[in-house]
Amino acid sequence: MAKVDTELLKVMSGELSTTDYIAGQCEGKLAHTLEKDPDSAWIYDLQVAQWGQIRDAQKNGKKLIAFGGPMPVDIIYAFDCQPYYLDQLPLSTAPKGDMNSKFVDMCEAKTNQSMCSIDKVEMGALLADQYGLVPDAFVYSTVPCDSSRIAYPIMGKMWGCPIFNIDLPFRRDARGVEYLVQQTKEFITFMEELTGKKLDMDKMRASMEVANRTNELIGKIADLRKHTPCPLPGMLLVTNACMSGMAADPAMIPFLEKELEMGEMMIAMEMGACMNGEKYRMLFLQNMLWTQLKAYSYLEREYGAICIMDALGHYHPDIYEDLSNFDDCLKVMAVKMMNLPMIHGAAGPVDYYCDRITYLMDNFNINTSVFLGHVGCKHTWASTKILSDFIQQKYDIPTLLIDVDCIDGRYKTAEEVQDAIGEYLTTVVKL
């Protein structure tokens, strides 16, 4: 008989907040892993740190800064504040179908069925009053998409906390960088007013040093994926999403070091993540299938098909070259915002999306292309023919287009997705 998740039932009935639930779950998993398989505990260490810090920030006298889209998060750390990247909520709860469904349904009752379910969960949890906290400020940018630009102002009004916005430019050029630098300076002023203290440059440098280290590590981990066979399972690509909120969090460093170590060890042992041999090196052109992560293991096991990278999730490492030159660092911060996962491909002209795909195709030995398209991401769906034609012409590789909901598992089961990809691999892809 299946074990009943009584804590989940409490979330469903509204007794328990999402934050307490997720943080508690992570702590429970860590305790269990420490007992049964201590070598794997590093996977949960990060999650415990991530959610524990969010849950306990205000109790520990830290201001909690909720944020969405590309923001200069390293600055939030420098002010001794705790960032809460809101996308972490739907991404963490996606495998918990019932919980996500509850929040999706609550949001749809108030807004719009076609809205991206990432935003639906974020807004639904607020409509249900189940964050269990009210941030001290909510800061968000005008992208990634139309959905977030609708959801965030509503959420900001509901929370009633101070708000700060950044507008991401349409083009990624020098003028765009200057535009973001100016807005970042305005953000620093906002944070100074919010916290009542000036930006401490020593803390700023410390924050950037951590960010440099994590960026360096995530770059090396990505490099491991260029290796054939790929040493790291597709499922571990979830790490990229953590970087959006935690690049300057010291808790990221041991996690990434361990992941790197594991990958290097696999290569040294001449082993790959596909236990029965690697055949298909897949590039997913959009996001991770957060609801059905088990599909990644299934495809690796049954077809030797491994997701080498997801194009919108790809984390582009950017390093602060001269920490003593803050003006220069502000420019790097601007580039980081433009290069953030999803933003780099999905926002702005489609040429940037093609550039990202070119980089991944040229460097990761890809032989299979799949547009695993989240239905809520309409503007990326509106570029599918451009992208698939581009890949066909440049690399002579066809692209499978398959619609999924990355967050709401009711849309399509793992089995449906696996079968569709499996059939494509065996009938269309010629290697």
Partner: protein, 376 residues
């Protein structure tokens, strides 16, 4: 002067072809965040792109998928079908679907060997001194591109003249819209929509003359009677007067709107600072309220809608959202209580660009009209 042309809402390339036959350029305009004054000052005919009457956008759907907004797809379809006879278009990243018209037509026209002048300007999605300055620079880039295309220099004098010309059109349209405040207006909602859509199809000077002729004839027009309720329409891009006619046929007279192809296109007068005309244009276009694409204009947008509903004494409001339009997907959360406080009931409708399910629309509209009629 015969002003019947104001009521011809179907898209015709004749006017554009005639313009181009004089050796002048005509450019489409995607979204209302492209200041048409700039094109006008460069001697270019700006043609605000719409897709009225597009009943089959299957080819565009191949490019943009079934998950996209059908208004955007229909515009792409009309570009593919050469419904407009243009030299190209200028787009802004109004919403992300509008931005994809740019990407897809660029790729599609290249593939079919019909490459055109396609210009994209970035229109910030928030309003501050920093974003307005950035937008002004974008407009400078547009001016340079237009000068290169036409060989015409865009001077401050020309810009000021264009601003004044468009202000005249704004003022005249305002007078047309004022007519709808009357207990028995002399135009229906569908007619008002046709008048506003007509602006997209002809040079602004001609439009002004037609508006003047129409307004001069107002005393001779017969007031509309026999309607049961006064309605207002808000929501996504709506450019099909037949949609409004279907509602009006059931007794609901549409007397006001906040549509981007309707009254919001025109807005208030643009007050130009002669020392910085381009800056004034940038300020105007980022500050004026049009749609929820901006991240920071919701309270103003909601106030505008509620005030307009009150000002035009509407009995009910139709919130018409295009399927897959995210921008208009969430406004009800705060707008609904605000309208409720003002005593304005709402009917939510979802539509596609092609006029599908018109029977269902009529039934729902009629039921709504019956419901609010009792409350009048």
């Amino acid at each position: 002067m015969n002003y019947q042309k104001l009521f011809e809402s179907n898209i015709s390339k004749d006017e554009i072809s005639a313009w181009r036959a004089q050796g002048k350029k005509a450019l489409g305009v995607v979204c209302c965040h492209v200041p048409q004054e700039l094109l006008h000052a460069a001697g270019v005919l700006p043609v605000r792109l719409r897709a009225t009457g597009c009943e089959d956008y299957s080819e565009a759907e191949v490019w943009m998928s079934s998950f996209s907004c059908s208004f955007a797809k229909s515009i792409l379809q009309f570009l593919i079908d050469n419904v407009y006879d243009l030299d190209g278009f200028v787009a802004s990243d109004g919403c992300m679907q509008a931005a994809r018209i740019y990407d897809n037509w660029k790729a599609c026209s290249k593939k079919s060997g019909k490459e055109q002048t396609i210009i994209e300007i970035g229109a910030p999605r928030m309003n501050s001194a920093t974003t307005r300055a950035y937008y002004k620079e974008e407009l400078k880039i547009l001016v340079e591109a237009l000068e290169k295309l036409t060989g015409n220099k865009v001077t401050d004098e020309k810009l000021l003249h264009s601003v004044e010309t468009y202000n005249e059109a704004r003022g005249l349209v305002k007078k047309v819209l004022e007519l709808q405040k009357a207990e028995h207006p002399v135009i229906t909602g569908a007619e008002a929509m046709k008048i506003m859509l007509a602006s997209t199809n002809m040079p602004v000077e001609e439009y002004i003359e037609l508006l003047k002729a129409f307004l001069a004839d107002v005393p001779n027009r017969t007031p509309v009677s026999g309607f049961r309720t006064r309605l207002m329409v808000i929501g996504s891009a709506l450019d099909d007067p037949r949609y409004i006619e279907a509602i009006e046929n059931k007794g609901g007279l549409v007397v006001a709107d906040t549509l981007c192809l309707g009254s919001m296109t025109f807005g208030d007068e643009l007050k130009a600072d002669k020392a910085d005309i381009l800056g004034s244009i940038a300020d105007y276009y980022l500050t004026r309220i049009v749609c929820p694409r901006m991240i920071d204009n919701r309270p103003q947008l909601h106030n505008l809608i509620v005030n307009r509903a009150t000002e035009y004494k509407v009995d009910g409001l139709l919130y018409v959202k295009m399927q897959n339009c995210e921008c208009w997907g969430g406004e009800n959360t705060y707008l609904e209580p605000a309208l409720k406080d003002a005593g304005v009931p709402i009917l939510y409708l979802e539509r596609e660009e092609k006029l599908a399910n018109i029977g269902q629309l009529e039934i729902r509209a009629e039921a709504f009209i019956e419901m609010i009629e009792k409350e009048v």
